[in-house]
Subunit: 176 residues, 2 copies
């Protein structure tokens, strides 16, 4: 039987953080960089006065529409589907406005993932898979399979799980 | 550790079939009854000329907004949450127009289910739970826990799984 891989969206196949930084810099004439976010969440890296606005970005209509695709994720996920059952599992329930935007984004950028293999959830302990590729280590805590941490600035100090820095490393880990 | 129960929406806590029959009878001046649907899907019970329209109901905007609640489901699900981890797991991906309507319906009728415990999916083989209460036996085929079939007209001839006819029977099965 084929092994199953659950793949997160934001910070794994969708470059949501980049999208947020570009927007923040434009709105505030700021020069925030990825390097300044190492070891922290974006809300903790911006000026205290901007925190609540930045935290509200993902709740706004349209936010998830035009997020850039993480480099090489399309090619490698497509290759993975040849050897594994691949599901996209995203904690969309936190942002109900994102449902349709995320679904349409997947249809545009990952048309080879059928609707039957898309999951919108909250607590990812509900996911039955052999592997989960995610940037949030807390999702692995109640997950019965192996969590593979996809590097993002906020998680660089997390050392409990196997880590991949990019999609080339995912390919090397899962494909012959 | 508490056992986990995954509960379907349509035909289990949401009386979608009743809603469809009422709508069909109104639109066509028909007198379709639940009894006429025994052992079949609604599309197969209506006049051949109406099939494609009936099949399109769930794809229409607003369809999932005002579905009636299945009797006793609210009380019993609330009681279940005291003893089990309860997730609502619905194959919403087939009907993307339903996302927001289903989410808001749950907030209205099952406000004690947190967003972290709501799952929109397709193939329910992705669900990790001890029990799944569902009216569609095909969801149990790749499910690692025990499927509990919730009786609906279309599934009366299914004999492979433990069956409950209503929420009183769910209560008796799961609660002391």
């Amino acid at each position: 039987m084929r092994k199953r891989i659950a793949i997160d969206m934001d910070e794994v196949i969708a470059d949501t953080l980049h999208h947020q930084i570009v927007r923040y810099n434009k709105e505030f004439g700021a020069a925030l960089t990825l390097e300044q976010l190492v070891g922290k969440e974006m809300c903790d890296a911006v000026h205290a006065d901007h925190r609540s606005l930045v935290a509200s970005y993902p709740y706004q209509k349209g936010f998830f529409e035009d997020i850039p695709v993480v480099p090489h994720s399309q090619d490698v996920v497509l290759m993975l589907t040849e050897h594994y059952d691949v599901f996209v599992t995203t904690a969309a329930m936190e942002y109900p406005n994102s449902f349709m935007e995320k679904f349409e984004w997947l249809g545009r950028h990952f048309p080879f993932i059928p609707w039957s293999h898309i999951v919108f959830c909250g607590d990812k302990g509900i996911i039955a898979a052999d592997y989960m590729i995610d940037d949030n280590a807390y999702h692995f805590e109640h997950f019965a399979g192996e969590g593979i941490l996809f590097t993002a600035p906020h998680n660089v100090h997390e050392a409990r799980y196997r880590r991949v820095d990019d999609w080339m490393q995912v390919r090397d880990l899962f494909l012959p």
